[in-house]
């Protein structure tokens, strides 16, 4: 790992940071293109003729051929498939995700409308999970008392195994039905946010706690921690300034992967608590067989996930100076 020293080193670093971002961005764009492909062609999974299915939604059960044909015309389903894809893609680039089959509302508008609720939920969930996980992980790694450490580890193992929908129901039973502290559904106040966010947060925290613990334990064994002690620093400084900075790096990357889990979990949590976010929108649309809304939601969520993963990657590069030079996966 010895690099030749040159006066240009500082310039190299600045350029490579942008290069790093650019390379990552290119990859994300490729992935997003693939996502659009999947989203589009997944529609063809539905058995039956798309035109007929849409017509069924619009006009009800008693259809005649002319209605189906008019739908086919209107939706451009006559054209060959790949042509349809490009038309659809073109619409996408103009930020047009089509209209709901049921309500004829603009899909993108609907999604943007529901977005804040989901963001509120996921941010709150993430915060709660960190608030629980980090202290447990850190204390558990540093514990001189092996018993406490094992207890924490055991409880986090339980946390991983609990299905989040069951956890939500348990929390409702406890805090809402029995203790009457929080409402079990609805939107608008912090009180309404409490249980959904807790559900999301608790189910995520166990993994983060285990990762933090494992990562910190690994870092504490490193020679530079001993070197820091050799310079006369107290344990507090050694852990906070030297160990944690390194130990939390994998946790940050993991946060990127967790975003997917968050978004997925949000779907379930929103459904249980009737939280008016994108997740609930998605599930409702599926039941309503509103294909364009479903397609729009799925696409939106996937793109959101990809972009936020990119953001996390960049954050990681900012925090860890070593990987800015590692241009190759």
């Amino acid at each position: 790992m010895k690099r030749p020293i040159s006066e240009n080193d500082r310039n190299v670093r600045r350029i490579s940071m942008w290069k790093y971002i650019a390379k990552r961005l290119a990859m994300v764009l490729v992935v997003i293109a693939g996502v659009t492909l999947v989203s589009f062609f997944a529609m063809y999974l539905a058995p039956g003729d798309p035109a007929e299915l849409i017509a069924l939604e619009r006009y009800g059960q008693d259809l005649d051929a002319s209605q189906i044909e008019s739908v086919r015309e209107a939706e451009g389903l006559n054209a060959p498939v790949y042509f349809q894809y490009f038309i659809w893609l073109d619409h996408l680039l103009h930020l047009d995700l089509g209209r709901s089959i049921i309500t004829s509302d603009d899909v993108l508008e609907e999604i943007i409308l529901k977005l804040p609720a989901t963001i509120e939920l996921t941010v709150a969930g993430l915060l709660i999970s960190l608030l629980i996980a980090l202290p447990i992980g850190i204390l558990s790694a540093l514990q001189k008392n092996a018993l406490l450490d094992n207890c924490c580890a055991f409880f986090s193992l339980i946390g991983i195994s609990i299905p989040n929908f069951w956890l939500g129901i348990l929390l409702i039973w406890l805090f809402s039905l029995t203790l009457h502290i929080f409402p079990s559904y609805g939107y608008g106040s912090l009180s309404h946010l409490a249980l959904p966010a807790l559900t999301l947060g608790i189910s995520m925290s166990s993994i983060t706690a285990r990762l933090t613990r494992a990562s910190l334990m690994e870092v504490m064994e490193k020679e530079y921690i001993l070197a820091a002690r050799a310079r006369g620093f107290d344990e507090y400084t050694v852990v906070l300034r030297h160990a944690l900075k390194n130990a939390l790096l994998p946790v940050v990357t993991f946060a990127g992967m967790q975003l997917g889990y968050l978004l997925g979990g949000a779907v379930i949590v929103e459904t249980i608590f009737s939280w008016p976010g994108i997740g609930k929108l998605l599930v409702d649309s599926i039941f309503a067989r509103d294909f364009s809304m479903v397609q729009g939601c799925v696409l939106f969520i996937a793109v959101l996930f990809s972009l936020s993963s990119l953001a996390v990657d960049i954050l990681y590069a900012v925090l860890d100076p070593r990987i800015r030079y590692d241009m190759y996966d």
Partner: protein
Amino acid sequence: MIENIKMAEKLSMNEKRLSLWEFGKNRLALFGILFIAILCFLALFAPYISPNDPFAQKLDERLLGPCHEYPLGTDEFGRCIFSRVIYGTRISLGIGILVVAATSIAGTSLGLLSGYKGGLFDEILMRGVDVMLAFPNIILALMIAGLLGAGVLSVVLSLSLTQWPVYARLVRGQVLSLKKRDFVEAARALRPSNIYIMRKHILPNCMEPVIVLGTLEIAHVIIFASALSFLGLGIQPPTPEWGSMLKSGIPYLRTYPHLCFIPGLMIMLTVFAFNFAADGLRASLGQSAKQEVLDR
């Protein structure tokens, strides 16, 4: 001999903690395996073990608590919960094993080919994996299950489509690091058939992490499948599935919480068992603690 001192220092801090943890984990792993064995037994011999017909509705015996005739009580249609739970084992385990078998074989093969051949095939496959992984699991499964309609087939299909990429990535990584090792070069010199090399030399060395991952994945799939059923998109009632049982129990949560508690508990214990078993496998195969967490 430097190993003596360096090893001594390494064994230091965590030796006490590790041995307690190892012991605990080994115990738990045993419990896990035992529980899984019990589950398999329940699934195979369900008709002989369950006291009642899981589908039989007795509307005058609704919502009973645990009693002699119904060990776990009855649900809102008077069906024996205990029997339904036992039959539910069949479904969950069945789906879990089926999906994991299919995805692990498909994913491993693809990963093997991709890692070994390299080149364009590898690039395309990896982009494909990236794309599949760009969708949060549930979202994709929801979409597919929603499009195909509810039912076992759509659950199995949607879960298979979302889960295979993990294996491909894992195996490809293993293959790439193995490819560089000398014994592969030697094998190539002796007998250049690619398939032979892949089968005899590379594949056996990949199997360990795949087995651990597979065990974890069964747990994942079981939760996943119950989540889908819970949302109403997977297995539908009256088929006894733990997730859909949970959902049906919600309206009675205040007064008869056992309708929700019991199926949820079953899911949790099952997932528990597989997680512990996977940990035990991992310990006996010697992976690091961090890897253990990242695999989840």
